[in-house]
Subunit: 356 residues, 2 copies
DNA sequence: TTGAAAGCGGTACCAT
DNA sequence: ATGGTACCGCTTTCAA
């Protein structure tokens, strides 16, 4: 029977509670929120009872001003509806919840200028932590301004964490992009593929670059060649357009197209079908990230699993400073071979390749 | 050359700005944030200059305490990573951004108890708006407590908006679930389908119930029969399990399975394939919502388009109270016929059906 | 118009 | 341990 009694007009304040309990403001505060308990148990009970009766809930804003610190985590993503970012966000929210922190989200729509603007706006919240998960370009003209902004924020006691690598020197959740892509390429050459193309993000997007570099290295080791590289937006439509162009120019011997992330890969597969070809049969496709949906495609997509929720959780831990050693290490990725890259039995060296 | 000068240790306060500009606190406040401008232009400029120089950014928490009102929108979803909710969230965030409001998110994980808990927690933020987008059950035991909580919140000046219908009487963004499902059923019978099954959410989930009821009505009108109904979680795995059971029991003449949302439909299609059958050919499948990914499936999924981002935007407008007449009307849905429900030419009354 | 000062809801120091 | 009180950063009334 906890009465929702504060139906008056304004929520009960600590003052109300103190009065109701017949104790001082200070005691009420200590009973309710004070860290080290040094309150007479009887008083304490009276305060708790009064608080319950009045349906008291401490005003976070007021606590924030008084304490000089908030319980807010500010999260910046490129696009909330994008499965990659929504998974990361889910991880951040889950971890924040454990730490009793509140998460605020904003979307940059992949516009660096907007990102900078948003970071500036977010300062008003005085968030304890600022997580930047919108994939960024290394050579963006706004970078210096962004860095200045973030440094100032840190100087004021804020903690910054990036989700994918940048050239900016802040705490960063690193993903084994290079290693994962290299492993993928090795597996693919092991399956008998030799001639490749890649659809990737703009030059300068670190994630894309790392994945491409890793893929290249793996091909080299495995005897494959990367015959063409198309750069597009890091989106479904970018992937579609990239594949469309590849096909338009003539696939012409290319056996497999690697898209630098799954969202692009989805678009790429769609373009293959729209061209009247069959993904997997006419041209193999591989992606990166293993977002849940790609298992459901036909054929299911070969990709490199990235534990995106874990990435989100880590970003928060890292920013908070209570990262374990494990948290500091790059996030491991894992190749997942599926039917979009069937084995090419016909190729000469299609021998068994250990999946290790 | 806007100097990020506040590299001291704490962000510049309005006090600092006032001193720097050689004016009073009040004047500084009025110049920077005051609504009606009644400040001498010269002073005003001095304040603005000082603010820029000190890289001043008003402390939102402090403003909230002083004003007695925040600029926060609290959003509750079932699961941020779920494409349905992430799209709604994207809409809320976008609209909030327009209104210069900050969005905080939390996930209920579909647990009504947790939802109640979260609502209570959120009170601490004193959000101006609380949007509940986690699909709820009508008969949940926590409902009365939730309602009490929300009423109290409203009594304190808060605005509540629900995203899908409940029996709770609050502002609600209504979706044409019934009409959409009915239209879908009509189209499907028009295509020659006669024998149906449905996979839906638990009885009591309004969205699921409305869609099922609409579908039933449409079948009746079109001469189809709903031979079986399976109830499962409103998730991908729920859809999978539902279809698995249907197949296990023997499809046995059922031509088309309607899943009450696309996420379930995705799971259902997967189960069809895992059973060695071909969706669309052996059994047709239809969903609801038209999340972006279902176009990409093989076969592409027939569904009922729901403008989810718009739903999110509306929820905020509705809560804010600046909803237009259009905003008050139910959100229109639209049948999208795709290859997962091919026309059945063989059926006797497979005549032309106007798509109107 | 401007500035002094009284709050807003809390926290935390300092005597008692 | 408890209560009085200064103070957090900002808004807003009230006089001047």
């Amino acid at each position: 029977m906890a009465g929702a009694h504060s139906t008056q007009g304004a929520p009960a304040t600590l003052h109300d509670v103190a009065r109701e309990a017949g104790v001082s403001l200070a005691t009420a505060s200590r009973s309710l929120n004070g860290s080290t308990r040094k309150v007479n148990e009887e008083y304490r009970q009276r305060v708790l009872t009064a608080a319950a009766k009045l349906n008291y809930s401490p005003n976070l804003s007021a606590q924030a001003v008084a304490r000089g610190t908030t319980t807010t985590v500010a999260l910046l993503v490129a696009d909330i509806a994008d499965p990659i970012f929504s998974q990361i966000a889910a991880g951040v929210v889950r971890e924040a919840d454990r730490e009793r922190l509140v998460v605020t989200v904003a979307a940059t729509d992949r516009d660096p200028e907007r990102e900078l603007e948003l970071v500036r706006t977010m300062r008003g919240q005085r968030p304890r932590v600022l997580i930047l998960a919108a994939s960024r370009r290394e050579d963006d003209p706004h970078n210096t301004a962004l860095e200045a902004e973030l440094r100032a924020y840190e100087a004021n006691g804020g903690r910054v964490a990036f989700v994918s690598a940048t050239d900016l020197d802040f705490r960063t959740v690193r993903v084994d992009n290079r290693i994962g892509a290299e492993a993928l390429a090795r597996e693919l050459t092991g399956l008998g593929y030799r001639r490749f193309a890649a659809i990737t993000g703009d030059d300068g997007i670190r994630t894309a670059d790392e994945r491409l570099a890793g893929f290249r290295a793996g091909l080299e080791a495995g005897g494959g060649t990367l015959e063409r590289v198309v750069r597009q937006d890091f989106t479904r439509d970018g992937g579609y357009e990239g594949m469309r162009r590849l096909i338009e120019q003539g696939l012409d011997g290319i056996e497999l197209v690697f898209a630098a992330n799954d969202v692009m890969a989805v678009g790429a597969m769609s373009a293959v079908r729209d061209a009247g070809l069959t993904p997997g049969a006419d041209v193999a496709v591989a992606g990166f990230d293993d977002v849940p949906i790609v298992r459901e495609l036909t054929p299911p997509l070969t990709t490199v699993r990235t534990p995106l929720e874990e990435v989100g959780r880590r970003a928060l831990r890292l920013a908070l400073g209570d990262a374990t050693e494990e948290d500091e290490a790059p996030v491991r990725t894992e190749v997942v071979l599926r039917a979009s890259t069937p084995g090419r039995a016909s190729t000469r060296d299609a021998e068994q390749v250990p999946t290790a």
